[in-house]
Amino acid sequence: MKLKNTEALNELKAQSLKLIETRRVTDLVTTKNARGLVRHVMVCGGPGCHSSGSPGIAERLEEELNRVGLSEQVKVFQPGCFGFCEKGPMIEIHPDNITYCEVSEDDVTTIVEEHFIQGNLVDHLLFMDPITKERFPTNIPFYDGQLRIALRNVGYIAPENILEYIAADGYQALAKVLFSMTPLDVIDVIKESGLRGRGGAGFPTGLKWEFTRKSPADQRYIICNADEGDPGAFMDRSVLEGDPHSVLEAMIIAGSAIGASEGFIYVRAEYPAAIRRLLIAIAQAREYGLLGKAILGSDFSFDIELKYGAGAFVCGEETALIHSIEGARGEPSVKPPFPAQKGLWGKPTCVNNVETLANIPPIILKGAEWFNAVGTEKSKGTKVFALAGKVNNVGLVEVPMGTTLRQIIFEIGGGIKQRKTFKAAQTGGPSGGCIPTKYLDSPIDYESLTAIGSMMGSGGLIVLDEDDCMVNIAKYFQEFTMDESCGRCTACRVGTKRLYEILTKITEGKGTLEDLENMEKLCHIIKDTALCGLGQSAPNPILSTLKYFREEYLAHIVDKTCPAGVCKSLLKYEITDKCVGCTLCVKKCPMNCISGVTKKRHVIDQERCLKCGACMEQCRVVGAIIRH
């Protein structure tokens, strides 16, 4: 059924509202009152919950509801990511507004019996505050301080049903753009909103659109960069899987604003679920006349094609990405000319990141002032972070720009795992840096992160604790960029390898002070001479750790120790005279290199010891095995 005009879209919206009505109830409906109403069970389908078996839970719920004859009154859905990955698999029940955490297939019978038949809460599945032990049926503290704009529909609508998206104001912004705004109006709104590229560099989106529009050409292209390669970042994936239509709608809007009739989504082949959802969404949008010829009966035509990446981090760089779409090796080229002037097949091309695009429809609908009221002076709106590492509440969080790291890590994130000490937060992935404790209270935006030697990046936020060795972390990222360097320019191809070699030397206890000096020099040379963003930012992890954790480098080089106890070549395990001779370690040692008999002090054969630490983990006597 092709929609011919705005009225048809509005009519369809009115009809579709009932699909999500149950979920829109904001007042808390008690579980007892909710009996008799049609209820929606949302089973989180985010990557984390999916991996821990949420599809099986959804299936079991349906079976069980069917068995007790409630399948008409209770409907099961699998939307996108709820964000609170730590407590997954999660389910939400509407309109009761109840969230259950860490649900397993075995809990399904209890939930159906207690919650749906008896009308009672299943207490042991409610979120429990780890400190106060208080149970939260709803309003889990994890969501306090969050503001969902880019993720507004993720976890809320069923991503494979265009009608739910339409019911949630979907394609309204497109109708507004097509029928009551000129392309220049649209560009002005985006410029005024202050929206900047969420892929990392933070270039103002409105300006990018304007430049592309101003480049004279018979054809222009819009590309959605969905090649999320930053290890530890999964925000784009969550948008693509949880709300694919918002990306399509934004691309069509961008197309009409810059004068493009064709768009491409460059998506990682490693994200099969995102690809599947996008294909479904594209087919549905075409079916409803929202994509293709004469969109909504207007004179504007636009179509979208998917292009698959093939596992190359550098393809997140826009010129490399364009070459990859053209079917070539994904090597970057020198800018200028910028893609806005000469991009895909030599035509002006606008490349926008997934999260950037997801912000567009609400900006058009609610206006630039609504959007730029959120955030800091130069960074407007919100940012999605993939919070991971040594933090209690791993998950996907969207916060206003200007939120401090402390709020994200200690309030939303619930602090450090096992009550250890916070050491640093790594942002910006392999292009970013490590932020030490003293900057925990600085507000996060593009400028402040760059000022302290890191960068926003795509939004990976990895929390490190006292057990992480900063030299080893720098080495990890250097290995990554060395692997991913495309080889086009010498500075990056050779430079990252040399940096990696020096770091390896240091972690093996063979580094010298001269190495440290040379490494620092080399970092600056690479920064100044590499061809593209990947190379130019490759030394950042080293430079920022050198800046804030130089004493750790010195410990490795001068004292030949690894303070965090990570670098194996610098470790030594020894059994002290506190040993009671229980033989636990003897049994556990994978190398069988601990000798000793019952009730006599054991000895580790240092020659053969792998330094795996298995003995120390096993030992029950404090101080009997020491590591130094």
Partner: protein, 162 residues
């Protein structure tokens, strides 16, 4: 061109796919994805065939195949075991997990067991950071793989019953 896998086996399927495309050369990466899906890997003779069919130098095809880590020229075992080496997994013990897998499978990352049952590889981030460290067997994610015994139990599911 002395590879044992015959490109003739699925060649019709591959040709039909290429014929169905509006743009040919521009879709080289898409064609390679399709070919790897049907052959499991991209041996010389398959690359050669694609070059002929798309009318481009085989060096270009080889250049693209070797550039992208998703493409492989070595056949894989029946089950592909991947260790996620994304940052979240890295700080929560991915190295240890990789070491344990190498130990249990008696191969190094990038190799295939002699019985052709398992290939061990690493990849960057599957987005299941909440479950770190994770291993992925044939696309299925197994989380919180800290214990040797758990790893063993997962692998056992993929071994044929004796």
């Amino acid at each position: 061109m002395c590879d044992t896998a015959s490109p003739n086996k699925f060649v019709q399927k591959l040709d039909d796919y290429i014929d169905s495309l509006t743009y040919k050369k521009e879709n080289l990466i898409g064609v390679l994805h399709y070919a790897q899906e049907i052959y499991g890997y991209l041996p010389d003779n398959v690359q050669w065939h694609i070059a002929q069919k798309l009318d481009i130098p085989s060096a270009t095809v080889y250049g693209v195949v070797t550039f992208y880590s998703f493409f492989t020229m070595i056949p894989r075992g029946e089950h592909v075991v991947n260790v996620c080496t994304g940052t979240a997994c890295f700080v929560r013990g991915a190295e240890k997990l990789k070491g344990e897998l190498e130990n249990q499978l008696k191969i190094k990352a990038g190799e295939t067991t002699t019985d052709n049952l398992f290939t061990l590889e690493t990849l960057r981030c599957v987005g299941a950071c909440g479950l770190a460290p994770v291993m992925i067997v044939d696309g299925k994610v197994h989380g919180r793989m800290n214990e040797a015994q758990h790893i063993n139990e997962v692998l056992a599911k993929y071994r044929p019953e004796i």
